[in-house]
């Protein structure tokens, strides 16, 4: 973030600076939304659908989305599959290793609220939002690749609507 997050603070003191700030915001948000690199991470059958969405038939590449095998290079994490209580701290660690701004899509019933494993289980975490913040919830068991694409478009909308001041405020806090 560095210079860019400090920029609006400087610009708002300059006459006409806000015009520059909004243009900068638009450029920044568009580039962020158009290159959501996702973490190669999946724990159950949702991961199969995620792989399918990444492959040639549904083709994530046309949204500028590529899988990254390292959380350091990823902006987006699909929590694709059942997360057990033993796995939850590992998911949290992966999330913490991702560089900001970072986004999470809870893919499938298991990641949303435990799904088919909500009742009568000692092992499964009832929703990944108990461990890490979630941007988009995508129900389904498992969701089809089309719905995953829809979830990504929703996330792009969210990324595009973000304010530059928010990032500056986060930086100061």
């Amino acid at each position: 973030m560095g210079v860019i997050s400090k920029l609006p603070l400087v610009l708002q003191n300059v006459p006409g600076g806000t015009v520059v700030a909004t243009s900068l915001e638009k450029v920044l948000n568009t580039s962020r939304a158009s290159s959501l690199w996702y973490l190669l991470f999946g724990t159950a059958c949702c991961a199969i659908e995620m792989m399918c969405a990444g492959a040639s038939r549904y083709d994530f590449d046309r949204f500028g989305m590529f899988f990254r095998a390292s959380p350091r290079q990823a902006d987006l994490m699909f929590v694709a599959g059942t997360i057990s209580h033993k796995m939850a701290p590992r998911v949290k660690l992966l999330y913490e290793q991702m560089a900001e701004p970072r986004y999470v899509i809870a893919m499938g019933g298991c990641a949303c609220n435990g799904g088919p494993f909500h009742y009568d289980t000692y092992a499964v975490l009832k929703g990944i939002d108990k461990v890490i913040p979630v941007d988009v919830y995508l129900p389904g068991c498992p969701p089809r690749p089309e719905s995953l694409l829809e979830a990504c478009l929703k996330l792009q909308e969210k990324v595009k609507s973000e304010k530059l001041e928010k990032w500056s405020a986060d930086q100061r806090a």
Partner: protein
Amino acid sequence: MLDNETFIKTITDQFPGSVEALELQPPQNAVKVSAEKVRELFQFLVENPDLKVNYISSISGVDKTDQIEIVYHICSLENKIKLTVKTTVERSGGKIDSIQDIIPAANWFEREIWELYGVDFNGHPNLTRFLLPDDWDQGNPMLRDWDGPDFVRMPEVN
């Protein structure tokens, strides 16, 4: 190669009174044995030159609410015969002899049963935390009356 009947008969003849064959649809085979005789039975199954039991697929536990049933699923690959060995132990503080020195693959299965059902295996070298989280302190979750902090029981459906 032995057929199913001879296979079961060889076992029941060796342990008269303590090993009992269960009536099942062929080609399923099952015997019931008392917990004290388990080690002796497995020693026989593995060492007998005709039976040639050489593979263990799994050990399962069943909570029968008054006692715990331990089910060994074993095979003789050369005879192409599967055998289920059932035995029961007490529900709280149940003890049974380990068979991991006879069949080494049983080591992890016994650890699993110890962890999930609380059954103690005498002579097992490493009964430590296995599948559950490392900081688990909520008892044995596969018991039917188990309850945990975020455990939700399935509502009754009419």
